[in-house]
Amino acid sequence: MTRKKVKLAYITNDSARKATFKKRKKGLMKKVSELSTLCGIEACAIICSPYDTQPEVWPSPLGVQRVLSQFQRLPEMEQCKKMVNQESFLRQRITKANEHLKKQRKDNREKEVTHAMFQCLTGKSLQNLNLMDLNDLGWMVDRNLKEINKRSDSLKNVTNSQMAAGPSGEHPSQRAEVPVFEVNNDNMQRQQWFMDLLTPQEPLGFGGSDEMMLPFVDNNQNPPWSNTFFP
């Protein structure tokens, strides 16, 4: 079995073409046979070439006759409904291939934007994004917000119905590395941060460690963007 990619075009080299024909014809017959056996269905194949005086058939001349009569007994419309030739078959394949391509591009874009969102959450600048990037980013943020709100609502319902003993939220389950945050709802301070963000600044490094803080949140009164967080 070759691992080389075969170009989908008529093979001009005579001996190569003959060799390919022999191999592939054999393979094709095998595939028809397998299909017929595995699925218990009737089928036939006819292959004509300049290399054989007689056309080669599967399963046998008698078998071919049988299937052909069965075929021709059908109303014309039924015969034609799923009939294809090279042209129509290739068009179908192109359509399907385009669909796969489109889906893959969409998935890739989604991955890209998610990645960007997390980078922006930890301080990377929005400066280099064009309108379309911003649009996609905003959409992604919104989608995440929706999920989060849903989750937070369901969690709140659970804690409400369970009437959890003790105050909730004061000491969140801690992972050793993550310090306790305090959410500061001071609007003045928040605006300050946005102003900082909107002035052009160097894109900030992305450390990737658990000690990093999320921006927009008051981290024990430390100013955001200070070098302590982004060494």
């Binding site: 075969v6 989908l8 008529y10 024909f21 592939r24 094709l28 028809v32 299909l35 009737e42 089928a43 194949a45 292959i47 004509c48 052909l68 069965q70 039924e78 409904k81 009939m83 294809v84 030739n85 090279q86 042209e87 078959f89 192109i94 391509l101 893959q104 591009r105 969409k106 874009r109 991955k111 890209e112 934007v113 997390f118 930890t122 990377k124 929005l126 064009n130 309108l131 379309m132 990037d133 911003l134 649009n135 996609d136 980013l137 905003g138 989608r143 989060i148 969690l155 939220g169 969140p172 389950s173 993550v178 945050f181 959410v183 946005f194 990737g208 460690s209 921006p215 927009f216 949140v217």
Partner: protein
């Protein structure tokens, strides 16, 4: 990911027992069979006809140059007509098929490239997501969720601000939203489903790894 298909495993050559599997197998193998037949005709110029009855008794057929033509030739043993008109028709048909094959090859190649990029992107994410806020929402505690919410809302505001800034700097019809906008640009058109891969396609430059103007 659990293995879904039998892939490179040996399959016993007897009629399949499970009806549902049989249907799927028929569908896939029939498609593959036609693909092989198509390749054989293209590569070697062979004339082929294949007729297949489905488990549900529908009939599928593939023929090059055409099912009927090949059947006729088989029965009547007529040598192919070599009139000038026939040759012209055949030449034209072959040219079309050649083009279609090239088109198909192109699309498949593009797909391979995108698929590779997808795998790279997944690798990148795996290597970098050590931060708690990147974990799936279900794994987060309520306080963490509250934090994340605040941050996301802040980010959203910034994105909006930045977009407005860009719009002010570059007035004029924004081409990228032409196909989707329902009148306003912000709030962005959610009906489109967020992503519009179609918008960028003509500008993709696959030779340039940083092919976007953005920072991705």
């Amino acid at each position: 990911m659990a293995r879904k298909s039998r892939g490179r495993q040996k399959v016993e050559m007897v009629k399949m027992s499970k009806e549902s599997n049989l249907q799927v197998t028929f569908s896939k193998r029939r498609s593959g069979l036609f693909k092989k037949a198509s390749e054989l005709s293209t590569l070697c110029g062979a004339e082929i006809a294949i007729i297949v009855f489905s488990p549900g008794n529908r009939v599928f057929s593939f023929g090059h140059p055409g099912v009927e033509t090949v059947i006729d030739r088989y029965f009547t043993r007529n040598p192919p007509q070599n009139s000038g008109t026939m040759q012209l028709i055949e030449a034209h048909r072959n040219a079309t098929v050649r083009e279609l094959n090239m088109q198909l090859t192109q699309v498949v190649n593009q797909f391979e490239i995108e698929k590779k990029r997808g795998e790279e992107l997944s690798q990148m994410r795996k290597a970098q997501s050590q931060c708690w806020w990147e974990a799936p929402v279900e794994e987060l505690t309520l306080p963490q969720i509250e934090q994340l919410k605040v941050s996301l809302e802040g980010l959203k505001m910034n994105v909006t601000k930045q977009a407005q800034k860009l719009l002010i700097e570059n007035p004029g019809p924004p081409q990228f939203f032409a196909s989707s906008s329902s009148g306003g640009i912000f709030p962005y058109d959610r009906k489109v489903g967020g992503f519009n891969p179609n918008m960028v396609l003509p500008q993709y430059d696959y030779n340039n790894p940083g092919y976007r103007r953005g920072f991705f």
